[in-house]
Amino acid sequence: MTTIAIPATAAGPARAGWFTQTGQVLRRWLIVTVRQVWGPVMSLVQPIIWILLFGQVFRSLGELPQFAPSAGSGTGGYIAYLVPGILMMTVLYSGAWAGTGYIDDINSGVMDQYLSSPIRRSAIITGQLTQQLIVNVVQSLVVLGIGWLGGARYPGGVGGLLVALGVATLLATIFCCASTAIALISRNQIALISLSQLIVLPATFLSTTMMPSALLPDWVAAVARWNPMTWAVELGRGGLSGEYPDAAWLQLAGLVALAALAFTWAVRSIRAYQRSI
């Protein structure tokens, strides 16, 4: 029988750099994504139904002056107004599940393996986040494609599409990191999903996802103004239509700040998890 270890000539392998570690965490999750592709596919069913249902049921809303091209819907009517909203909703619904992988890892023991290895905590978070953002971009492209088939047009052009995708990625970062942090704190799938669902619907309806601010009751409009979902939807709508909202830069800055905060929260949560073992 041979021995297992080559006698330790060197002092063992050098510690992998942060990018290598992140890359290997990403590699693991991309393999999982490819082998379980039904997950991301299933989370596309809902937005597709919304686009088709809402787009049909509320079609006559497009006649209202509030949906005129100046309101940011371009010339596509209600469906063109709706698509950026559905795009961001997809991000929310998909991102809500982001933390479940961590709970699986905690329950199976893989997390213990990570935490007893010289792997940076931020690499664990970043690797999986990157996978989620990649999935998110693919889902966003599908939603935009469905919207186009449904009649929406994107006069903002390729640059505008890229802006919309970038904003969706920012929103995904916020939501995935928050989901991760909550997962690491609660360590309970049901709690995580319930809480996410509890947040997603109000976040959507208390924003300009479905309705322009002018058609919302005053109090809702006031809330919507400060809702990050509104910022993301209006920026995305601006990109697709080519007409950006007045507060675009402020909204973008707000989203970037929230993304940074959420990422920090997620990394801190993994450390807090370790302290609790």
């Binding site: 041979t2 297992i4 270890a5 392998p13 290997q24 693991r28 999982v32 199976s108 007893s116 010289p118």
Partner: protein
Amino acid sequence: MPENTTPAIVAENLVKVYRGRGRKPGVRALDGLSFTVPEGRVFGLLGPNGAGKSTTTKILTTLSRPTSGTARVAGHDVAREADAVRAAIGYVSQGSSTDPILTALENLEIAGRMRGASPSDARARAKRLLDDFGLADAAARPVSTFSGGMRRRLDVAAALVHHPRVLFLDEPTTGLDPEARAAMWAEIRRLAAQDSLTVVLTTHYMEEADRLADELLIVNRGRAVVQGSPADLKAALHGDSVRVSLIEPDPAAVRAALARVGGLRDVVVEASGVDGVLAARTDDASAAVGAVIAALDAAGIRFGQVAASHPSLDDVYLHFVGHTFDPSTGSGTGGTGAGTGGTGSGTGGAPAATEGEAA
């Protein structure tokens, strides 16, 4: 075996208190545990479930921080030089260390790359380990298709990708069938043949500790009970041990009956449900067995098997802890709360009368 220059592990006065969560009370899992592990050996940590073995392992692998006390692993302090410790150890926890959706080869390759191996080195090492652990044929299969024994072997392989100096195996054969357990024992012995590797084996199986460990530490209620090689520990108990299985025993009556038998030491009577056991040690087993049978008969006490033997690790445990070791409940049939880390929560299940209650 090289003469021990620096110990692989030095643990000093480790205390771990888990704060209560909600209505769960806090637990003092480790209560001043100190021990030293010589390099290049298989070191067994033996104790019932809840004795603090896993907590000890978690502290030594840097997963968990001690409430107080210090530990050095491979020469590095677990609290202040955690990354140096992490680079030097492999850890097989009670859970799995691999992603079930990935193949065995992918899991090992990724583990190697994360530890800093180049792509070609990681691949070569992964293949070598799969060969060594008899998993080469299953290399391209997702781990979810593996049997329990194969998964466990893969977990051990994954802990070895970076040539660790200290390998922690936390209950490596729990839940395995006898065949898979024998295979795992063979792997551990193979690893133990390497002078450069120290293996810390946590177990609640007496037989496993007896067969595999060069050096053994018995822990109970978060404290070290006794340390030594299995042979030395057994040799330290002079004479033979006598065990009688009792049927529906009344411990007080059994004790009274035995009071008239001379030459018995360390007499322990335990009752658990309808079963019981009488354990004692003696210098002259042939004389004692006859006297014990006669005394029990005379008192009308029903009993089954009577056995006399050289001391086993069970007897060592009994001698030092004061009640018999029961791996199934893991808490000892003494039911005194020993081995539950002081919570008393681990003793659930069958009601158990203790020697103390009976006396």
